[in-house]
């Protein structure tokens, strides 16, 4: 049997002795809500209950949900700034080195000589800062933009070809008109029966267990 049936809320929970240890068999529990408001209230309750590994899925951006979930501000902007600075530095050093014959790289090492070549263009001095600015500017933008996209994907765990949520039939409506909240089984606080009872108290349309 490849397909695990969706567990309805009415089904009796498994015996208690299994419940004292976090379940390794399921990915988590998913609660379905009808409105963004209901999801928002539920998110605040889950946040206050102290769960760490959980997420919300909505068809559109819901303003204030970040706050309701207690998500910390991302450090991405700081990293992008640092990468931008790295690009600027690289642009400067690259041109400084390539335009200056006096700047001798690895000159202390025997048998290796790498040095720049002075280009004389329209009577400008070799170290002519204004002419360097376009290259410095472009490299700053390049590094900042690539790092912004790359780190964003990394932090979001993307690209990801499979997600346990997709096993749920109801979840298809996450891109249409339903709002979902998933508590993952790997959460240190996760005890299946308690989590199920807790989600039930949030008054969802349904609760289902997601197979890993």
């Amino acid at each position: 049997m490849s397909q695990v049936p969706v567990m309805p809320t009415t089904q009796a929970p498994p015996p208690d002795e299994f419940e004292t240890v976090p379940s390794g068999k399921i990915y988590g529990l998913m609660a379905e809500f009808d409105t963004p408001g209901a999801l928002m209230i539920a998110a605040e309750r889950v946040r206050d209950a102290g769960y760490r590994w959980w997420d919300c899925h909505t068809p559109f951006a819901v303003h204030g949900l970040d706050k309701a979930m207690g998500i910390k501000p991302t450090i991405l902007p700081i990293l992008v700034f640092v990468c931008g600075l790295a690009g600027a530095t690289m642009g400067t050093v690259l041109q400084w080195f390539t335009n200056s014959s006096s700047f001798d790289l690895w000159s202390g090492l025997p048998g290796i000589m790498v040095r720049g070549y002075e280009f004389f263009i329209s009577g400008k001095p070799a170290s002519s800062f204004p002419t360097w600015i376009p290259v410095i500017f472009e490299l700053t933008i390049l590094f900042a933009a690539l790092s912004a996209v790359g780190l964003m994907l990394l932090f979001n765990g993307l690209p990801r070809l499979y997600h346990p949520c997709f096993k749920s039939k109801n979840f298809a409506r996450a891109t249409d008109d339903r709002f979902f909240l998933v508590i993952e089984a790997r959460d240190p606080k996760f005890v299946r029966s308690k989590a199920e009872a807790f989600l039930g108290s949030l008054d969802p349309l349904s609760i289902e267990a997601l197979e890993d």
């Binding site: 303003h63 902007p77 700034f81 329209s122 400008k124 204004p130 002419t131 600015i133």
Partner: protein
């Protein structure tokens, strides 16, 4: 939505408007009268006055031009977030209905003094380059274009202001459609009028020099000016207890973004583009303009612009957090407005010492002469700079307060008002 005519107290400028109108108006009048007196009593007074007055006038003109552009832009793009701020730009732009009066002294200076070198018949006789430019640079055409520009700005800004204010009482959505249809035309007309105005009134001070980037640079300046003023208006009104709930931190952040993008980054981009091309081509007839701006006192002002108009505000406003602290963003807006004045001063005041440049043996010799004050590069603060600025800005403040006093501070019945009230940055 409010019932017709019954706007709440916090949507009205009221007492504050009258106070600003009288105090700023009186100070402005006094400033102007003192400026006229100084100019009349001193030798070559009117030529000195002309340049100082031009700086002050371009300063307030750029505020209204920026507001005009922003109003038309918001209608053209059907922007929703900005609706609670749109009345400010409409009112500031509609200063054009009387701003032409302040232009009259300038036109007089152009006509009767040699403030603009190309009006000097003697110079024209000897100077082939100048003579070649007479089809564009001549007194009647200058006056004609100025009249046309002020007429166009008058009609467009009044159109947007009146329709928007009319909508406050009628709530007629077709007014919004009318303004949206007119907006693209206003933008196209804006580009041409402000470009030629900046060429005729500012760039032609050095008639030998030319740069096609100059009008764009001035455009970046007008954006810097109005987006700074917009934040200051928001802050001052909220401090006075107006629009407390309507303007949120989200609006501050977006107003800050505009100042950052147009007034700081775009300005620097254009300033550098212009500098870079002239630096690289290294043609004497172009480089003189920059040469003189990196000598003596002007060198320090150029550096101040680089650091104060770009580097420091860029680093501060890069993050979203400073844009969401009202005191910080308002402080930066004040600083940028000051920098914009310095920028205009830097554009208008320096004079290219043509003779000394032709005879000097080296760059260093010229720089030494400039530093020692042996040649006139136009550097040196004048009392007229201050009195003209106080005079023009005072009148302008009074006029703006008067425009804002006669209407609600937000477009009460704009169809996108509710969108703007709940707007959030994601």
């Amino acid at each position: 939505m409010m019932a017709n005519g019954a706007t709440p107290e916090s949507h009205r400028l009221g007492e504050l408007g009258s106070k600003v109108f009288f105090i700023a108006g009186l100070i402005g009048l006094a400033g102007l009268l003192i400026s006229f007196a100084i100019a009349a009593l001193s030798e070559h007074g009117w030529e000195t006055f002309g340049r100082s007055y031009l700086t002050a006038f371009m300063f307030v003109l750029s505020l209204s031009l920026g507001a005009f552009f922003f109003t038309a832009l918001n209608h053209a793009t059907r922007a929703g977030w900005v609706v609670v701020l749109r009345r400010f730009s409409e009112a500031v732009a509609s200063n054009f209905v009387w701003l032409w009066i302040l232009f009259i002294p300038l036109a007089a200076c152009m006509y009767w003094t040699h403030m603009y070198h190309w009006t000097d018949a003697e110079a024209l006789a000897h100077d082939e380059l100048l003579a070649g430019k007479t089809p564009f640079l001549n007194k009647p055409f200058w006056l004609l274009l100025a009249a046309a520009f002020f007429g166009i700005w008058f009609l467009f800004s009044r159109f947007f202001y009146n329709n928007s204010v009319a909508q406050d009482t009628t709530g007629d959505v077709s007014l919004t459609h009318r303004m949206q249809r007119m907006a693209p035309l206003a933008l196209i007309v804006y580009v041409f009028t402000q470009s030629y105005a900046s060429m005729h009134w500012m760039m032609s001070l050095e008639p030998h020099w030319f740069s096609t980037m100059y009008p764009v640079y001035f455009f970046a300046g007008t954006c810097c000016a109005y987006f700074s003023l917009q934040i200051i208006i928001m802050y001052v009104l909220q401090r006075a207890g107006k629009l407390k709930d309507e303007i949120t931190l989200e609006h501050y952040q977006d107003a800050g973004k505009l100042l950052f993008a147009f007034g700081i980054v775009f300005w620097a981009y254009i300033a550098f583009s212009q500098y870079m091309l002239i630096y690289y081509a290294n043609i004497p007839e172009e480089t003189g303009w920059y040469l003189i701006r990196q000598m003596g006192g002007w060198g320090r002002i150029s550096l101040l612009l680089l650091v104060g108009h770009f580097v420091v505000p860029f680093l501060i406003l890069l993050s979203k957090h400073p844009k969401r602290i009202k005191g910080v963003i308002a402080g930066i807006a004040c600083w940028m407005l000051f920098m914009h004045y310095i920028d205009l001063y830097w554009l208008i005041m320096p004079r290219i010492p043509t003779e000394a440049m032709a005879t000097a043996e080296s760059y260093n010799q010229l720089a030494e002469m400039a530093a020692a004050g042996d040649i006139d590069v136009g550097y040196g603060w004048n009392l007229l700079d201050l009195t003209c600025l106080i005079g023009v800005v005072g009148i302008y403040l009074a006029g703006t307060a008067h425009r804002l006093k006669n209407c609600s501070l937000i477009p009460e019945q704009d169809p996108r008002l509710s969108e703007s009230l709940v707007f959030e940055n994601v």
